[in-house]
């Protein structure tokens, strides 16, 4: 008996210890659970009290697993479409038939059009994204797509932080330490900024939301940025109730206050950031060694050495100044001789950075955001004066085209206030033991494309800098365009796994449906029929986390998922994709799924079986994947020198990569494109700000509407409206209302609540009705209350990132109310 089986409390029940990720609760948490199995069925699930992540606690979605795993509507056989797409006519086939069919179709498409003509699409991939990449790369396609417009969930934030400091950071809730809050090295943050994140609802980003409640019990005080009244905002010392989409202005206002009042860590700024590096005043660009010397490197920069009274070269490879005792000036303007004999005036990055922030006095930020200037100042002072302090941010940061400059500003906050890589601050988050399965920002995994050449055809690579350095997905809006245009090459087929494009992740879902109709072949993997799987030609039945073995190395802990049971004919995604990858790639590297897991775990020194016996492992102190102060210890750079894994080896307050990509390198605020401020013409007809995406405890995005216990918690698609606004519109709580803009209208149930600002509404996302007819035109009710029908594709920023899902415009009126049109009409205004 394997060690992960624990002693049962009753004779006929076996208890299996495993960890959660993917189908089931659906989130990105990694809770330890004990699954009680009787006669092959799950009879109970409980939190594992010995697991460091959740310590026995468990959320509603996981506690409802018995209704999920044995749900009568689960797909249990591969299905082949026999009617038209969307008609809901299927026949069950064997796995061998399904694999043969898919293999045949994909090989024919590859021969005729090249592997890049097949797109491999996911939602928020969870344990399945590595295997999706494995299949795509084995087939030869670089086009793995995270199907949200502007790739606007998390990877933009990750890419932005990597741009600034070469790694990603998260708040330190002692998750790297086995004894957690009791570890003597750990310090409880005195201040925690919860920025656009109602995180106790559904752990979306690999952070257990209730850790922050643990910290509050231990004395952490909260600053909350949120347009909505949340549990955090009503307990915050300072609540900044900003207009949706203006987070970047708040961040700049914070920088303004902190710089103007000298509340930053001068020693850190001088030693570890590129603040002393020089910018040419003629070009506005970084002064490089190649400007100074005929054969100087473009990769090296320069500062003004106050000791020598001349420029000194910063050697990026050595992460040091050429002259050991250089005294780089932090501010000032200097004349520097170039190698051609000319002289150019230069100023420091620090002066430029301070000047950028100086453009945002709190009074101006108040005018942009609606947050009183005094509150901005007080909150910025509290953050800067608290040591340690941490910032945790949510998806609203990704939901403007100005995501990167916003995230640069926020990243600068934790860097210049001395909160980077300190206990209780923002610490660098790397995969545990540097075990990386697939390509993520900043890390190449063991699962990769055969050649770099194959990656050149990835959609979006040419257009967008971050996609060449940090983001290894296709750019979603460009994929949709290309399905219609066929330029520069045609898209012929789609593989869909862990995502529901029509009712979940796709904006303008009718456009996606039109795109589906253009494709020669669509295969889908899912656990239930959804509006999206109705458009597939083949649907394969996947397993829940309880029915599979797998590995997880995303940050910490490193751990295994252990098969507790099986549901006949359902297969784990990894096994489905492994079989197809083996058939599609004559050079496929792994002999078995276990050999693949062993390969992923190689850097830990443990095999899959060994790790499974331990269940989880944390990297030891001093490992490059464990905090703290790794930049001082030389643990962040491949060459082992102190510094950061950026082009200069420094925290780049002025982002040299953004300069390379032709984008503004300094943080700033950009007004989103579809707000009452940027589009007063539209505001006449659509006076309310439309936000969506708020989390429900009951559901993970488009999942769980078919789980009776969970649906009872949150039965209807709701739109939150402020009492004053509702009164003005003659709307009462519980009324069905239309939410409408130029793209269409959808029905929601009004929740009249002070949770939202009077100038906005918050509409729930991911709604479809599994209890309704699955075939078109109903398509499980996917066209009735689907807020994505009001969100445009193609609003990504200059770097290909961001989407306006929290800062759009709409009007709201009662169903049967004043505006014309039949109330049965679906979708179209």
């Amino acid at each position: 008996m394997a060690a992960y089986r624990v002693k049962p409390r009753t004779r006929d029940t076996e208890i299996v210890r495993t960890t959660v990720w993917s189908a089931g609760p659906g989130c990105h948490g990694t809770c330890g659970v004990l699954a009680h199995i009787r006669k092959g069925r799950l009879v109970k699930i409980e939190g594992d009290p010995d697991h460091p992540w959740n310590q026995g606690r468990l959320c509603a979605r996981c506690l409802a697993m018995t209704q999920y795993v044995h749900h009568p509507d689960r797909l249990t056989r591969p299905l082949r479409r026999v009617g038209e797409r969307g008609e809901g006519k299927w026949e069950a086939i064997s796995w061998d038939e399904a694999f043969d069919l898919i293999e045949g179709k994909l090989k024919a498409i590859r021969s005729a059009h090249g592997p890049e003509s097949v797109v491999f699409s996911m939602g928020t991939g969870r344990d399945i994204s590595p295997w999706l990449c494995m299949l795509a790369y084995a087939y030869g396609s670089p086009n793995v797509m995270f199907a949200l417009s502007g790739n606007a969930c998390y990877s933009p934030r990750i890419a932005a932080v990597e741009t600034v400091l070469g790694d990603y950071c998260v708040p330190d809730a002692a998750q790297w330490l086995e004894r957690r809050y009791e570890d003597p090295e750990y310090r409880v943050p005195r201040c925690l900024v919860i920025w656009g994140y109602n995180i106790p609802n559904t752990c979306p980003d690999n952070i257990f939301g209730h850790w922050f409640i643990d910290l509050m019990k231990r004395g952490t005080e909260i600053i909350c940025m949120d347009p909505r009244l949340t549990w955090f905002s009503s307990r915050a010392k300072h609540w900044l109730r900003l207009r949706p989409g203006t987070d970047g202005a708040i961040a700049m206002g914070f920088l303004h206050t902190i710089l103007a009042e000298g509340l930053y860590d001068r020693a850190f700024v001088r030693r570890w950031t590129n603040a002393p590096l020089l910018l040419r005043t003629d070009t506005g660009r970084l002064l490089r060694e190649s400007d100074l010397r005929p054969r100087g490197s473009r990769d090296n920069f320069a500062a003004w050495d106050a000791a020598a009274g001349e420029a000194v070269v910063w050697d990026s490879a050595a992460a040091a100044f050429e002259r050991e005792h250089a005294k780089p000036a932090l501010g000032g303007e200097f004349s520097v001789g170039l190698h051609g004999g000319a002289t150019v005036r230069c100023r420091t990055v620090w002066d430029a950075f301070c000047e950028a922030a100086a453009g945002y006095p709190p009074e101006r930020v108040e005018a942009i955001t609606g947050v009183p200037a005094a509150t901005i100042r007080d909150a910025a002072r509290m953050y800067a004066r608290s040591s340690p302090a941490a910032i945790h941010w949510g998806l609203p940061i990704d939901s403007t085209p100005g995501i990167t400059p916003t995230a640069q500003a926020i990243t600068a906050l934790w860097c210049i206030t001395g909160n980077l890589e300190v206990p209780g601050g923002n610490v660098i988050a790397r995969n545990a033991f540097e075990c990386v399965s697939y390509a993520l920002p900043g890390a190449e995994g063991v699962i990769r494309l055969a050649t770099k050449e194959a990656d050149r055809k990835r959609i979006g690579v040419d257009a967008y800098g971050p996609f060449r350095r940090f983001i290894w997905r296709a750019q979603t809006d460009k994929v949709l365009e290309q399905i219609f245009s066929g330029k520069p090459y045609p898209i012929k087929a789609l593989w869909m796994q862990t995502g529901n494009l029509i009712a979940g992740i796709g904006f303008e879902p009718k456009k996606w449906r039109e795109a589906f109709r253009k494709l020669d072949f669509i295969a889908a993997v899912d656990l239930f029929m959804t509006p999206t799987t109705q458009y597939a030609d083949v649907v394969l039945p996947a397993a829940t986390f309880l029915e599979k073995d797998s590995v997880r190395s995303w940050w910490v802990p490193l751990q295994t998922i252990n098969r507790a049971m099986t549901v006949p004919e359902c297969r784990p995604d990894v096994e489905i994709n492994f079989e197809l990858a083996r058939r599609l790639d004559p050079g496929f590297r792994w002999e078995s799924v276990e050999a693949l897991f062993d390969d992923i775990l190689k850097n830990s020194g443990m095999s899959f079986r060994e790790l499974q016996k331990r269940q989880w492992a944390l990297p030891p102190a001093g490992h490059s994947s464990a905090p703290y102060r790794r930049h001082e210890k030389g643990l962040l750079r491949p060459d082992g020198r102190p510094g950061f894994a950026t082009p200069s080896g420094l925290v780049e307050l002025y982002a040299s990569l953004r300069e390379e990509w032709g984008l503004e390198p300094l943080p700033h605020y950009e007004e989103p494109p579809l707000t009452p401020v940027s589009r007063p013409d539209l505001a006449k007809d659509y006076p309310l700000i439309l936000s969506t995406g708020r989390r429900s405890f009951a559901f993970f995005n488009a999942e769980h509407r078919n789980i009776p216990w969970l649906r009872a918690l949150d039965p209807d698609p709701t739109v939150e409206i402020h009492p004053r606004t509702a009164a003005g519109l003659g709307i009462a709580g519980g009324d069905w209302v239309w939410v409408e803009n130029w793209l269409g209208r959808q029905r929601f149930r009004a929740k009249v609540t002070i949770a939202v600002r009077p100038d906005m509404v918050m509409a729930a996302h991911g709604w479809w009705f599994p209890e309704e007819e699955g075939a078109e035109p109903s398509l499980f009710g996917a066209w009735k209350s689907n807020i994505n029908q009001l969100i445009p594709m193609g609003s990504q920023g200059e770097d290909g990132l961001g989407a306006p899902l929290k800062n759009l415009m709409c009007r709201v009126y009662r169903v049967g109310g004043r505006r014309g049109g039949s109330d049965d009409e679906q979708g179209q205004a």
Partner: protein, 115 residues
Amino acid sequence: MTSKARPEFGLLIDYEYCTGCHSCEMACAQEYNHKPGNSGIRVFEVEQTLPDGRETLSFFPFPTDSCLLCPHLTREGLDPACVKHCMAACMRYGRIEDLARAAGEKPRMVLWVPR
């Protein structure tokens, strides 16, 4: 048990930290296979604007007449299902006199005794 019997055990609920996550409801629904919408404990949401203008949002888990305090678990020294799974760890099971003492340790507590 008749209503005349003297209860010995109860729940101490620190509602300052209840986030409204509904884990208690779902843990109970699983433990007793309640019909959807039924549970031995329900979470209530209260939002209001205080006299000083501050807006607040609070949640209150409150046991219902279905609550048995999980004798099959407590007999083995385990916590009731709701207490065990509470994400905010804001509920405590114990002897009423012990809980009454603990209720004085901080504000915003409710001591509840079952049917």
